[in-house]
């Protein structure tokens, strides 16, 4: 299991089975492989069988997942977390995406990270509200969702998990601050317009006047949120692709498996290559968080590298995954078109992953910036 002090050691490639042999080819450390296996066990992920219904009672089963350390992958060790193990967070997000898990994991991880960084900065004089929330998040007793405050400073559109969360952390990008809403009646949510992705809940949030407390935004919180959304999408896409490959290998037409027809096989080959590239970009972005900067200069350079790597991964996944899933729906024919079959749930979810981060456009703009194209006059 993942331990705070575990070192990442390259142990060589791990040819797993199913989707792991086929699609993920990065070198994974022992603890990441163990985490992945533990999550699959806990989530009941059985390859080839897609969930066709949405879990509605996930909160009742959240505590055991919290015990695996899920909320604390990006929380400093001093606060009971694992440091900044973005690789572990990415692995978890991919598994949760593959399982269509309803938790707002990306936002929860970004929130926990931000709250812990704030608590660290405040030291022993830290805010008991923040400290208590952190403890509850770690224990799995409370869920904190993450969102972005709009220009009016009062509303946040598209807050994943917003309708049911116990607390909200809203990023105010104009002031590099976060607004923490942890009390009853601190906000109201309007979920009615966000029903396309039925695997999770989402709401437009209005902050109750005068409520909330402001804390400084740590440098990585937003990038973390965006990267984990991409990881969620690629995890789901991998599983849907793996499932479709298996389906086309079995489904017979004209006396042979349809996966033996080039019109089908070649598209799946293209998708497999593309999905491998996307997954590698997501893992690579996670790696960029790892270096510990020693000076302010290094920290700035690292923040820039992180921003670029996250934008690359987000752009790639947000513009590619939905397209691939739409083609998988075509390749599975009428059965894939049914509600029961469940492929559409992935299509809905990767759409929402992109939308939550305002991608692909936001990532493309971010890259135009980091590459220096925006001052091309």
């Amino acid at each position: 299991m993942l331990t705070p002090m575990s070192r990442l050691v390259r142990l060589g490639s791990r040819q797993g089975t199913g989707v792991d042999a086929v699609l993920t080819t990065t070198f994974a450390s022992d603890d990441i492989v163990a985490l992945r296996d533990a999550l699959r066990g806990a989530l009941g992920t059985v390859w080839q069988e897609l969930p066709s219904t949405v879990e509605t009672t996930w909160r009742e089963r959240w505590e055991p997942l919290a015990e695996l350390g899920l909320p604390g992958f990006c929380v400093p060790e001093a606060r009971g977390g694992f440091g900044l193990r973005v690789d572990a967070a990415v692995t978890a997000a991919m598994e949760l995406g593959a399982a269509l898990h309803p938790s707002p994991f990306a936002g929860l991880t970004a929130s926990a990270h931000a709250l812990a960084e704030a608590a660290e900065a405040a030291g022993s004089s830290g805010d008991p509200v923040v400290g208590g929330l952190l403890d509850d998040i770690a224990a799995g007793a409370r869920i904190c969702a993450f969102g972005r405050l709009g220009p009016d400073g009062r509303t946040a559109r598209l807050v994943d998990g917003g309708p049911d969360a116990d607390a909200l952390l809203l990023l105010d990008r104009t002031r590099d601050e976060l607004l923490l809403l942890a009390g009853p009646g601190d906000w109201s949510g309007e979920p009615s317009r966000h029903g396309f992705d039925i695997t999770r809940t989402c709401a437009d949030v209005t902050v109750t006047a005068g409520r909330g407390q402001r804390i400084a935004a740590p440098v990585h919180a937003d990038a973390l949120y965006e990267l984990l959304l991409a990881a969620d999408a690629i995890g789901g896409t991998q599983r849907a692709l793996d499932h479709t490959v298996a389906y086309t290998g079995q489904r017979q037409a004209f006396g042979r498996p349809i996966g033996g027809f080039q019109a089908v096989q070649h598209r799946l080959a293209d998708h497999a290559v593309r999905v491998r590239g996307m997954a590698l970009l997501v893992h690579e972005a996670a790696r960029q968080f790892d270096a510990e900067p020693r000076s302010q200069e290094q920290a700035l350079a690292q923040a820039q590298r992180v921003r670029r790597a996250v934008a690359l991964a987000s752009l790639s996944v947000s513009s590619g995954a939905g397209h691939i899933l739409h083609d998988l729906l075509q390749l599975t024919g009428a059965i894939g078109f049914t509600w029961e079959y469940g492929l559409h749930l992935y299509q809905r979810r990767v759409h929402q992953d992109a939308r939550l981060a305002a991608n692909p456009r936001a990532a493309a703009r971010s890259l135009a910036d980091t590459e220096g194209w925006t001052d091309a006059h």
Binding site: T25, V245, G260, Q265, L315, S319, R361, A363
Partner: protein, 398 residues
């Protein structure tokens, strides 16, 4: 390790700066004239003599005991960076085939001549009706009948008749590796033999083919009653299929240099967008739609770089999956084509290219056409997709 490699890179770079012969265009290998040919041969010999090329060969034949596969990657990266003439695939494959399957006499005779820049090689594989489906080749090497095998030198030979095509460099190659059918009565893979032949034998006629790029890189080769002896057989008679499919140990890490190639292509794309003027006088790069297109292209390039890096890492620990090569080739060559198409879109959408970008635009026109060579040769994309479908996805043969 890292510092050793960096030191190696510095030495390669200095060597290239001193001796390198400039490349005329992506994929242009045939010398323009006798002067360039002499320069190229001298340059290739220098690479071997300095121990940069052929370093992975057995020590007996000039290889180095301290050679690492990473050295090959560093070499190819620096050749690309320096825009200098690169070693020929056909020569490297011939080298490894001779090392693996050649007799002691063949090795002693042929390998030193490769190292000396004396022998340029071509491949005589494809035929007018035989491309990706190589095993159906029809060129006949008829074994002599009566008196065969009596040891007097007569009757142990072959008479070759047929036509080969798409033979890159055949017009200036000294030697060719030929695949021909020696036994038509057995199943199609079993009756093929590999030969190593001088290209100036009587009965060989070579006609260069002008390609759509305007260059003439490959040729038709007519073989009309060409007489070969047993000394020309590489490996065993009727064992030629093994020679071409044995996954010859070669400079596999060269694949890693595709990353650098794509990176340079992408820089060229940005340079083009900077130089392309729209009707209102602004540069294409100033516009958000162009930036968005470039950002997407950059993400694709970075995907391919990671796929290639992953492949190289597995090559270095000798843990490749059979589909790794096809995945890397498909990703690289198709992304390359995608970049050229974006470049064409930038050019057609502009009314003028700044003087500073004229050479860049010319390069893109060439690369746009040349890009198709990459997706067709060395296993067409359609073949790669089939290999990926079967070997990676486990789907049935199409």
């Amino acid at each position: 390790m890292r510092t050793d490699l960096e030191e190696y890179r510095a030495r390669v770079r200095a060597f290239i700066a001193e001796h390198g012969v400039p490349m005329r265009g992506e994929g242009v290998r045939v010398p323009a004239d006798a002067d360039e040919e002499r320069a190229i041969r001298r340059w290739l010999r220098a690479l071997y003599e300095a121990g940069f090329l052929g370093a992975g060969w057995p020590v007996q034949w000039g290889g180095r005991a301290d050679h690492l596969p990473q050295h090959d990657l560093v070499l190819m990266e620096e050749l690309i960076r320096g825009d200098v003439y690169r070693p020929l695939d056909q020569v490297m494959l011939a080298s490894h085939a001779i090392i693996e399957f050649g007799s002691d006499e063949q090795k002693a005779q042929l390998l030193p001549r490769i190292r000396g820049g004396e022998h340029v090689w071509c491949q005589l594989f494809s035929e007018p009706d035989v491309g990706s489906d190589l095993a159906s080749l029809r060129t006949r090497a008829e074994p002599d009948g009566a008196g065969a095998g009596d040891g007097d030198g007569d009757g142990d030979g072959f008479t070759v008749t047929g036509q080969k095509i798409w033979s890159t460099d055949a017009q200036w190659a000294d030697m060719g590796m030929l695949l021909a059918r020696t036994d038509p009565s057995v199943n199609r893979h079993a009756g093929i033999t590999a030969f190593v032949i001088p290209m100036d034998l009587p009965g060989i006629e070579i006609r260069p083919i002008r390609e759509m790029t305007g260059y003439a890189e490959f040729c038709e080769v007519f073989l009309d009653g060409v007489r070969l002896g047993p000394e020309h057989v590489l490996g065993e008679v009727n064992g030629g299929w093994k020679v071409v499919t044995s996954g010859l140990a070669s400079e596999r890490a060269f694949v890693g240099a595709n990353s650098l190639q794509l990176e340079r292509m992408f820089d060229d794309l940005v340079a083009l967008a900077r130089a392309a003027r729209l009707p209102d006088g602004t540069a294409a790069l100033e516009h958000e739609d162009t930036q968005a297109t470039l950002a997407e292209a950059l993400a694709r390039v970075e995907e391919v770089k990671l796929i290639v890096r992953d492949t190289v890492e597995r090559i270095l620990i000798d843990d490749e999956h059979p589909s790794d090569g096809p995945v890397a080739k498909l990703a690289y060559t198709e992304t390359n084509v995608a970049l050229t198409e974006i470049a064409m879109g930038i050019i057609t959408s502009s009314v003028a290219i700044d003087e500073a970008g004229a050479a860049v635009a010319d390069r893109w026109y060439h690369n746009f056409l040349w890009g198709r060579a990459l997706t067709i040769s060395g296993g067409a994309s359609e073949i790669m997709r089939g290999l990926i479908g079967r070997q990676l996805l486990g789907l049935p043969r199409a």
